[in-house]
């Protein structure tokens, strides 16, 4: 068995103990819930986006909900990785991250290989614990839904 130290890297535990960007955002920021039905994890992503399309910029993001060390730290790291970024860039990070998680229906684009995952690399050990992969990607899937919801509401406003 891969050791627990592969999973519980120090940086992960740090994000778990001291999660970044916890809280809420008021509308017009979107608010999207995600569940992991397996273990009961619940996450809420609050997302403020400025602009439309791939150039739109995530101006703020907050996380609510409860979850295990992996889902909480993954969410926390995610907020750092996306804040101030453009949607196009974020999608590239998301593809790289999911592909690192061994999720095989991701179609990587050529430029993705240049994406630097930074701290998120620390979650690499999760792949060795297949049941935890869902924990690590929960926040990202919820973010994807939040981005879609932002785009939809931007379209409604237009």
């Amino acid at each position: 068995m891969p050791g627990l130290e592969d999973l519980y890297r120090e940086i992960i535990l740090d994000h778990y103990r001291t999660p970044r960007n916890r809280g809420e955002l008021d509308p017009p920021a979107v608010k999207i819930d995600g569940h992991n039905p397996l273990c009961g994890d619940e996450i809420t992503v609050y997302l403020a986006v400025d602009g439309t399309g791939d150039d739109a910029v995530v101006t703020d993001i907050k996380i609510g909900g409860q979850g295990c060390s992996i889902s909480q730290s993954s969410a926390s790291m995610m907020t750092k990785a996306v804040i101030g970024k453009q949607v196009g860039e974020i999608n590239a990070v998301m593809r790289r991250f999911k592909s690192m998680m061994g999720i095989d229906n991701i179609e990587l684009e050529e430029a993705d290989s240049e994406v630097d995952l930074g701290e998120l690399e620390a979650l690499q050990g999760v792949v060795k614990f297949p049941v935890r992969i869902k924990c690590a990607v929960l926040s990202w899937n919820t973010l994807a839904n939040a981005i879609a919801a932002s785009a939809a509401s931007a379209a409604d406003d237009a």
Binding site: M1, H35, P37, L38, C39, P130, V131, R132
Partner: protein, 410 residues
């Protein structure tokens, strides 16, 4: 094609079981098939070394069990060329799958006066659920008739399909052996704006199946007829159709979340799999698929075509006008199922006499009573073959029939 003795030796019941000191001539695979060693061993060894809950717990043993269960889904997807394993929903049998279609898709999409088209050669599993829906909300059922040689009479198909919402038909008749032109029928359904639902129970075990080539919408079949365990069946469906359907049954595993006020559903396929599923059976089913793939579905079909030719020729040659075998004579459009009338003897008596020779056939209406009405009988005797049968089995059938007349003196 393949080594029949080697194949048969893998089925313990066929290789070793005797009754009154003689081996069993099993000609009832249209009903349910025997199980090869590989399937039995897969189930046994899974229970001995790897049994655990799936989808719920997160320790390694449970993770492994979940993977083993999902491997069953992947195997089925491969066997029928489904675009994605997630489109394969496990049910308890094909009947549940048909009920799922009629009840979940049907309740969501059909109203009083809406038309569902079936054929006169359907199994009760593809009739009664629609009749239940007809009772509940007054849908209309129309029936595609048969030609004299037991094929679908497609001459008025367009008329029957006009305004229809569903066309649900068998890909191979469990009574006549008839193999209708499924791809063409799916196209006809779609041209009329109807959902194409295929009962592939008898087809999948014996043929190369390609649901994408068919362009079917929903396809039901059973594990136990394809060398796999009892207790598990499948509904394959196009993802967008499954996603748009409401759940059929509620409970654990099929939910995203539940509060005191209501619930939301999990993604397909979990949405249609409430509770603890047939875990050990999915493992056995994966082994069955691998077993069939190793032999090759095309080879199985070839073998059964030549055996079908042999059976039709042998029985007709030996019994002439004393036997009436239903269904088409052309083995290109029929499988190895032979329903027949023999010398005015009642099927139950025929089966009894054959049983004394250890020849196992089915006597009755074969869960197709409306078809019996069309044929003008209330029962037939039915022999059906599979990959493990050979010409000697057909000869045993013919010999057994010979004996029947002595008793009844007809």
């Amino acid at each position: 094609m393949f080594d029949l003795d080697a194949v048969r030796s893998q089925f313990p019941l066929l290789a070793d079981r005797t009754i009154d000191d003689s081996r069993v001539v099993y000609l009832d695979s249209g009903n349910t098939s025997q199980k090869p060693r590989r399937v039995i061993d897969a189930m046994t060894s899974f229970m001995e070394t790897s049994y655990a809950p799936i989808n719920r717990s997160s320790y390694r043993l449970a993770g492994e069990a979940t993977e083993a269960y999902e491997a069953g889904r992947t195997a089925i997807a491969r066997l029928i060329n489904a675009p994605s394993a997630d489109e394969v929903v496990f049910t308890k049998n094909a009947s549940e799958a048909m009920n799922l279609v009629a009840m979940a898709w049907g309740r969501a999409n059909l109203e009083a006066g809406d038309v569902v088209v079936l054929t006169e050669m359907e199994h009760h599993a593809n009739i009664v659920p629609w009749q239940m829906l007809a009772q509940e909300r007054g849908i209309e059922i129309r029936w595609v008739g048969l030609t004299a040689d037991g094929q679908l009479d497609l001459s008025n198909l367009d008329e029957l399909l006009s305004d229809a919402k569903v066309f649900a038909f068998t890909a191979m008749s469990n009574v006549l052996g008839t193999i209708p032109p499924t791809k063409k029928l799916c196209a006809a359904a779609h041209a009329a704006g109807a959902l194409a639902v295929v009962d592939a129970c008898q087809f999948v075990p014996h043929n190369v199946t390609d649901v994408q080539d068919w362009d079917a919408d929903l396809v039901a079949f059973s594990s136990h007829k394809m060398c796999g365990p009892t207790g598990i069946g499948m509904l394959w469906g196009k993802m967008e159709i499954l996603e748009a359907m409401p759940p059929f049954m509620g409970g654990g595993n099929m939910i995203d979340t539940v509060t005191f006020d209501g619930f939301t559903t999990a993604p397909v396929p979990a949405k249609f799999e409430p509770g603890t599923p047939a875990i050990v059976e999915a493992v056995g089913l994966a082994a069955a698929v691998e077993f069939l793939e190793d032999i090759g579905m095309a080879n199985i079909r070839q073998h059964e075509m030549s055996l079908t030719r042999y059976a039709l020729d042998t029985l007709n040659a030996r019994f002439g006008d004393d036997i009436t075998i239903y269904g088409p004579d052309n083995v290109e459009v029929r499988g190895g199922i032979f329903s027949f009338e023999f010398r005015d003897l009642h099927p139950h008596d025929v089966s009894q006499v054959l049983d004394e020779k250890n020849v196992c056939v089915r006597a009755g209406h074969h869960c197709a009573k409306p078809l019996m009405q069309t044929l003008g009988v209330n029962a037939t005797t039915r022999a059906s073959v599979y990959l493990y049968n050979d010409e000697a089995d057909i000869d045993a059938l013919a010999d057994g029939l010979d004996g029947a007349s002595d008793i009844f003196g007809f």
